[in-house]
Symmetry: D2
C-alpha cells in the first residue's frame, strides 16, 4: 500500500459493492476510461465465483477531477443501479472530517493528532470531545478545538449524549473513540449518522468488556492485543478493522501489560483510522473488507 | 536462550519454587558452589518482594555430574525442605521420554519428529499413539514405534484410554497431544501421572472448543492463533505455555485459515515442548513461569 | 490472499506488464468479459500515474477454460502487442513443474515436499537433485525421484552442471535451490532457461556470501533473517521475493542462530515458492511485484 | 520483564562483569543477603562454562537502601576487585539524567518525552538540544529546557560541539541521539564521558550511512528496519542494543518507507533507552548483553 497515495491531486477513489455478475470490472473500468481517468490501482474481491458478493476499490487519476465528479457519478449510477450495486466516489484530495472522543488516557489521542500533523492521516480534526479535562492542553497545542462534555450516569446520560450529537451534527464524517470510557447508547449510534470507530484493549473476541488486562493476567496469556472495530449496538461485537498483539511474560503485572498494551492500541487504532480515511475499508455485515 | 545448552555434558538444571524469603538465592548458589558446580545461567522471579512466591532455574556445570547428583539432592533437601520449598534437579544430558498422541493431521507430529531427529529437542520418543493409521508410515520412517489405539465413543471410551495408559505407564515422562482429536477423560488425566501438553488451534481464550477456524471466520478476526498449554480437567483452560498468531484477511476462507494456522500450531507446539523438555517451564496454579 | 484459490477449476491467471497508458484495465477486463470470463480477483499496480510501468494480475473463472485459452490468448495478443505490453496466461489447474536442488540440509527441502503433499503448493515435483546423498531416503519416502549429481570443484564443475541441465531440460518450469551449497555458473543460468529461486540465510543485503550466521554473531545483531530471491549472475543480488526475521539474543552462539534461522529459511522459501507457483510474482528489473 | 519494576522504592540494581570463576553467584548473592537485601530478580550469563566471561544483573529489595549503599559497595569491592571483576550498583529510585539531541524530525523525540511524562522511562530529561528550532514548542510544552546549537560545517564544527559539551558536562548520565542528523566527531565522543545512544534508520549492517530508505527501495527489500546502538568512533558500527522491522511492499516509495519506518524507529529507540535507563544493558566489546 502506498501511504502517500491519498495526497496526490486529482485522484478519485471509487468503492463498489453488491451482487457479483459478469462484466462488472470491465463495465466500471470502461466507464472510468471513457471519463478520461487512468486507473492507478485496483483491488477487487468476490466472495464466491458463483453468486458471490462483489467488492471493488479503484483509484484513478483524472485532470480536473473535482469538476468531473458529478458526470462520473451520473454514469456510474446509470450503470450500477440497475444491477443492484452500491457505490461511493470520493476525491482523494478532500480529507474526511474526523471527531475524536477521549477520556483521561492520551496515548491513542496523541498518536492520531501527531499523525494528522505529519500529514499522514487524510483527515481534518474539527474537534476533540472529552468527558474529562486532562487532555485539553495537549489537544489545543495541536491547534485543535476541544470541548468538555462531562458524562453523567443514570437518566441524565441522554443529556450529555445530546450535547455531543449537537457538536458533531453536520460537522464530521466519522467519529473515533480513542479510549473513550463511556458506553454509547443505541440511540446515540442511531442518531450520529456517521461511522464510529473504537479501539478495544484486547484481542477480540478474547476479554470482551471491562478490565481486559486484568483478565489477561488472570488467564496467564503470553500475548496481549488490541482491536479496532466499528461500533454497533452490541458492545465489542462490531466489524473488526484491524488487530495486533505484543508479547508479555509471567513477570508482568496487569499494570505492566496495560503500559505495554498502550503502544499496541495506538498503533492499531491509527492504522484502522488511516485505512478508513483512505476509503480502504468496506463493511460487509459484521465483517470488513480491507484493501491495503 | 541458548538452544544447544541442553546438549552440554555435565550440566545440571535445578528448578526451585516456594514461598519467598531472604537468603534463598544465596543459600542455593552456595550449595551448588560447595558441591563443585559452576553456575552457567540463573533465572529468578519473585511475584512480590514482600511475601511473594519464589521461582528459580539454575543451570550449572560440574565434572562427573551424574555421580554427584545424589549428594547434591541431599544437600538441597536439607536446606530447602525446612523452608517449605520444592525443587527438581535434572541432568541436562538425560533426555526426557516423550509420547506423542496424534490423529489424522501430521503437521505438528512431523515437526516434532523432525526437530527430534535434528537433535534440537532434548527428548526421546519411545512411541507415537494414534486413533487413526494415517501417519503410521511417516512415524516409522523416523524409526519411532507406532501404536494404533482406535478411539471408541460412548461407554467403551474407557477401554481405549486404558490401552493408552498401559502403553504409557512407566515408559514416558510427558505426553504431547499433537492435534489429537479426542477429549481425554478426567480419569485418564488422573491416572497418566505425567504432564500432558496440548496444542489448541486458536488464540485462547478466544474460540474455546471445536471449530475455532470456522468461528474465527465468522467473527471476522484479522489474526488467527495457536496456544500450547498443559491439559487439565477443564477443556482449553489449562496453564498456557506459549502462543503465537498469523495475519489473515477477508479473502481467506475458514479452510485457508486452517491451512495457514497449521504453521503457527506446529511452531507454537514445538517451542512449548522444547521448553518443557529443557525444564524451562514451571507451573504456578493456572499460570506458567517460562524462563527462556 | 486465498491460499486454496489455485485449486479451483476453470480459473485462469493473467499477468500483464508494460508501459502504462489510459484504458489498459478497461481493455483487458473487457476482453475477459467478452471471452465469457468472470473476474474473481484483480490486482493492479502502476509505478507512476504519468509515464509509469503497469503491472496487473487477474484471476477469472470461465467454463471450459482449457479449450478457450488459445482464443483468449489471440485476443490478448491483438490488443496488447501493439501497445508494447507483455502478458502470460496460465490455467490455475495446471500445476507448474518444480525441480528442487539440495545439499545436506533437509529443512527447506522437507518443508517444500510436505506442503506439496498437503496440496498447498500448486506444483508438481518431477525431481530432487542433490550433490550429496543424505536426503535420498526422505525424498523417496515422498515418492519423488531423486538424482545424485556430485559436485566437482575446478575445471570439471561444468561437467556436473551439464548433468543437471540434462536432467532439467524440458522437464521443469522452475528450479528451487533449497540450501543448495554450490554457486551456479553464469553459463548454467543462461542455459537452464527457467526461473531459479534461492534461499539465502540472512536478511539481505546484510551478510552477503558465506557464513552469515557467523557474521551475525560477530556483529551482535538482535534479529536474524532469511531472503528468498531469484538467482542472477550477481551472487545474492537477485530480485528479492520474500524476507522474514527471528529474534535472537546475546546468549545464542552462531550455531544456535543457525538452528533458529532454519525455521525462518523454510518458511520464507515456502512462501516465495508458493507465490511464484501461483503466478503472484512479477519481475521488474531487480525488483519484484508480489500480488498476495 | 516487569516495566514498573524501576519505580519500586528501595530497590537496588547491581551489574557485575568480568572473568568467570566458580563461586561468583554464590559470593555475590551471599553478600547481598548479609547486607539485608532480598533478591527480586537475577539474570546471569556466562559466555562459556570454561574460561568464559561472566555477566550478572541482580535487583534486590532492602529497607533504607540509600543509606546502606556505601557499605554494600565497600563489601562488593572487597570481594570483586581481587577477582578482576567490575561492578556498578544503582538505586532504582534515582533516575538517570538523559539529554536528547534532535534535528527537525520529531517522532523519536516526542515518543521519548511522552513515555517520560507517563513515568515509563526511569530518567529525567534536563535538556533537549537541537541544531534546528522546529521542535522547540513541542519540547517546552513538556516543560523540558530546550537549547538551540546550530551546527556548523567545516572547521567551525568544533565550536558547536564545544557548546554542546558545555551544556552536557556534569548534567547528564547519558545522551540520546533522536534522529540527530550530525555526525559527532571522535573528539566529542572522547570528551562527552557518558554513553551515547543513536537510532539508525535501517536494519544494520544493511544500509550503513546516509539515505537508507532510498537504498532499501533501490534494493527492493520486503522489510525495513531500525537499529538502536551505542555510538562509537566507527559510524553505524557500535554495539547494537535493539532492532526491529516492518513489512513493506513494491508499491511503496522511499518516502512511504520513511513514513512507515518512523514508527519502527521511535519504538526501537524508546525500548533501547528504557533498557539502558533500567541498567539492563551491559556492553561487551562491540556486543551488548541485554537482560530483559
Amino acid at each position: 500500500m502506498s501511504e502517500t497515495q491519498y495526497a496526490r491531486k486529482n485522484h478519485g477513489t471509487l468503492i463498489v459493492s453488491g451482487p457479483d455478475q459478469p462484466g462488472l470490472v470491465a463495465g466500471i473500468t470502461n466507464l472510468i476510461t471513457e471519463a478520461g481517468g487512468n486507473i492507478v490501482s485496483l483491488d477487487q474481491y468476490t466472495t464466491d465465483p458463483q453468486e458471490g458478493s462483489f467488492y471493488q476499490r479503484v483509484v484513478f487519476h483524472r485532470r480536473d477531477l473535482a469538476a468531473a465528479i458529478p458526470d462520473i457519478e451520473a454514469s456510474l449510477r446509470r450503470f450500477l443501479e440497475p444491477l443492484g450495486m452500491k457505490f461511493r466516489l470520493t476525491n482523494a484530495n478532500v480529507p474526511k472530517r474526523m471527531a475524536i472522543l477521549a477520556s483521561k488516557s492520551d496515548h491513542c489521542l496523541l498518536d492520531l493528532l501527531w499523525r494528522h500533523r505529519r500529514n499522514e492521516l487524510p483527515a481534518t480534526v474539527p474537534m476533540v470531545i472529552s468527558n474529562h479535562t486532562d487532555v485539553v492542553d495537549d489537544v489545543r497545542s495541536f491547534n485543535i478545538p476541544f470541548f468538555h462534555v462531562p458524562s453523567v450516569a443514570g437518566p441524565d446520560k441522554k443529556e450529555s449524549e445530546d450535547k455531543i450529537i449537537e457538536l458533531l451534527k453536520g460537522n464530521v464524517d466519522f467519529v473515533v473513540l480513542a479510549r473513550y470510557m463511556q458506553v454509547l447508547s443505541d440511540d446515540f449510534l442511531d442518531r450520529v449518522g456517521v461511522p464510529v470507530i473504537n479501539i478495544h484493549h484486547s484481542f477480540l473476541p478474547a476479554f470482551i468488556g471491562a478490565g481486559p488486562y486484568r483478565k489477561a493476567k488472570e488467564r496467564g496469556v503470553k500475548l496481549i492485543g488490541a482491536t479496532a472495530h466499528y461500533v454497533t449496538a452490541d458492545l465489542d461485537e462490531g466489524p473488526i478493522i484491524e488487530q495486533d498483539v505484543a508479547r508479555v511474560d509471567h513477570s508482568m503485572t496487569a499494570n505492566d501489560m496495560q503500559a505495554r498494551g498502550a503502544y499496541v492500541e495506538r498503533e492499531v487504532l491509527s492504522r484502522a483510522v488511516t485505512w478508513h480515511a483512505e476509503d480502504r475499508v468496506i463493511r460487509d455485515g459484521n465483517h470488513t473488507i480491507v484493501f491495503n
